[in-house]
């Protein structure tokens, strides 16, 4: 059945999308800023994986760690040094600020890596398995599994570590958290770092599936918008489910309307959801 094939394709795509959106959603929920830099961090993660593979032969799945750590660190510095100064400002100020940072990051990558699309072509791909007429590309399926593992780790960090509890506490009530002795500036920076690390990891994961250019950031970003609103802003499980839903939407939408309208369809859904269900499809609040 071709239907199942689209369904499986959608789910496999959806795992990656969930990973793209999880960090973005966390930052939006806790810091209440829309981080336009997120797309550039994903692209930067891609390039780390790409050069690790082409120059050193490191498998992209291993690069997940080597791109998450430096990009997480960089995000920490950016948040602590720059964004924290205006984090309490209006939507406009924080959005424009991250837009400025995004322009700088994209320009830097454009000069360093040229405007071409690049994609990792594995010399030893895992291949495809068949279930009757249904087939599953194993490399993509593996990257989706790793993506879910990362999202689960983030969820556990927020649940089990004291740093994670501090992040959640700030999300619920910033003033009260401050009064309980939580260092809000540092926790903000940590949250932003987690978001950046996840973006970097997502960039490495999608290097085996998608061709990427320095200016691909906004495309990933716009998908993250939709997923975030689908699942509910700031919710990790919401991002996971929203990612899957978005993957299915894109997979079936391409069949029904043609793939050139995939983005339009997604955005129409986004606006409809913002108007009808501003807390997301699930209505999940918190974590």
């Amino acid at each position: 059945m071709i239907f199942f094939q689209y369904f499986v394709n959608g789910l496999i795509l959806g795992g990656l999308y969930a990973c793209i959106a999880a960090g973005f959603s966390l930052v939006w929920g806790v810091l209440s800023i829309i981080n336009l830099l997120h797309g550039s961090l994903i692209v930067a993660g891609f390039y780390i994986a790409y050069f690790s593979y082409t120059l050193l032969g490191i498998h992209p799945f291993l690069s997940v760690v080597t791109s998450a750590v430096p990009l997480g660190g960089l995000s920490y510095i950016v948040q602590y040094g720059i964004i924290n100064r205006v984090v309490a400002g209006s939507v406009l100020v924080t959005l424009i600020l991250t837009f400025g940072l995004e322009l700088m990051a994209n320009n830097a990558m454009l000069i360093s890596f040229s405007a071409d699309y690049k994609k990792i072509i594995l010399t030893h791909p895992l291949g495809v398995i068949h279930f009757g007429t249904l087939f599953i590309p194993l490399d993509r399926a593996a990257s989706t599994l790793i993506a879910f593992f990362l999202i689960l780790s983030l969820w556990l960090i927020l649940r089990l570590t004291s740093m994670g509890r501090a992040i959640v506490a700030i999300r619920f009530d910033r003033q009260a958290a401050l009064l309980m002795g939580i260092d809000v500036d540092k926790t903000y920076a940590t949250t932003f770092a987690l978001g950046g690390a996840l973006a970097g990891a997502a960039g490495s994961l999608l290097s085996v599936s998608f061709p990427v250019a320095p200016l691909s950031g906004p495309l990933f970003l716009s998908k993250a918008f939709v997923i975030c609103v689908l699942g509910g802003v700031g919710s990790i499980s919401g991002a996971a489910i929203g990612g899957l839903a978005f993957g299915l939407l894109e997979s079936f939408g391409a069949v029904l309307f043609g793939s050139e309208y995939a983005l339009t369809l997604a955005f129409v859904v986004l606006i409809a959801l913002l108007l009808a269900r501003p807390h997301g499809l699930l209505g999940v609040k918190g974590f």
């Binding site: 400025g100 700088m104 129409v268 986004l270 606006i271 108007l275």
Partner: protein
């Protein structure tokens, strides 16, 4: 408005009106661009500055205006009729969109307006029979000399800027301006004291849409060639915000000052760092947000002047 200020505006406008006498097409092109930026910034300012709603969708109206006028022109309408059609289309769309989007606030409003331009761009890309899709639309060139064209489009754009400025002045000194000011400060409170916030927000949004679509219409005829990625560029949504921030948000003169200052910076950066252009623009944004959040007009030059005079 004090008398000296009014005099200053008139002198400034008079200088601009006589600009074509210089006979320099480069200066004229710059002045036309400055006027266009000023219109877009004033358009943004009505919603973003006066009402304090984070509007990220000027590009949507700009692009819609550009395409409506281009399509009307290529189906044989004279240029002024094409511009009128574009403004009517833009205004109608703004009324329609305002009813839907102005129920949102904060982040949701910002994202929804950001996304509208993307949707329009994709639709324009897809509707090849009408819009030419990704190939863009070519407009018939006028059988005029380049200088005559430059002068014509300068006066068109400058006239639009003056009209927009006049309307903004009227809005700011009227009931609408007062209502929008209240909405910015506290929308719920404004509602409670009996201001019909929805109506005023829609009026502001519509004004914004008609200004931006008029600018887009003239832009399309001016450049003679438009394509979706150009006129629906997200930078057309963001630059007006930067210019408004640079000049001072929510003021009447701020957008004009900001547009001119921004264009000067932009032109300087283009000339000297072609490859780093967007990066330097980004850097300027960051510096602006961190160190000059209330804009250039908040700097007290008069104080500087008095200080120098007394010493």
């Amino acid at each position: 408005m004090t008398r000296t200020r009014l005099l200053l505006y008139i002198v400034f406008a008079a200088i601009l009106v006589t600009l074509p006498l210089l006979g320099n097409n480069y200066v004229l092109r710059l002045a036309t661009t400055a006027s266009m930026y000023a219109v877009l910034t004033m358009a943004w300012n009505v919603v973003g500055g006066f009402a304090g709603y984070p509007l990220f969708g000027i590009a949507a109206f700009f692009g819609l205006g550009a395409y409506s006028s281009a399509i009307a022109q290529s189906s044989g309408y004279p240029i002024t009729v094409a511009w009128l059609i574009a403004v009517v289309t833009g205004t109608t769309f703004a009324v329609f969109l305002g009813h839907i989007l102005l129920r949102l606030r904060g982040h949701s409003f910002a994202i929804a307006t950001l996304v509208i331009a993307e949707v329009l761009r994709e639709l324009t890309n897809g509707w090849t029979t009408l819009t030419g899709g990704g190939m863009g639309l070519n407009l018939l060139a006028f059988p005029w000399s380049p200088t005559a064209l430059a002068i014509f489009f300068f006066y068109a754009m400058f006239g639009l800027a003056v009209a927009t400025f006049a309307i903004t002045c009227v809005v700011a000194r009227n009931r609408i301006g007062f209502a929008l000011n209240c909405i910015r400060q506290n929308e719920d409170a404004a509602n409670i004291v009996g201001i019909d916030t929805t109506r005023y927000k829609i009026v502001a949004f519509t004004l914004s849409g008609s200004f931006a679509s008029a600018a887009g219409a003239i832009y399309a005829s001016w450049t003679g060639y438009i394509e979706p990625t150009d006129v629906y560029d997200v930078l057309f949504s963001v630059k007006p915000i930067i210019m408004a921030l640079l000049g001072g948000m929510g003021t009447v003169v701020g957008p004009v000052v900001g547009a001119i200052a921004f264009l000067a910076l932009d032109e300087f950066v283009w000339r000297n760092f072609l490859l780093l252009h967007t990066g330097v623009l980004g850097f300027l944004i960051v510096v602006l947000i961190l160190f000059l959040p209330s804009g250039l007009t908040s700097l007290r030059f008069d104080r500087l002047w008095h200080g120098a005079a007394s010493s």
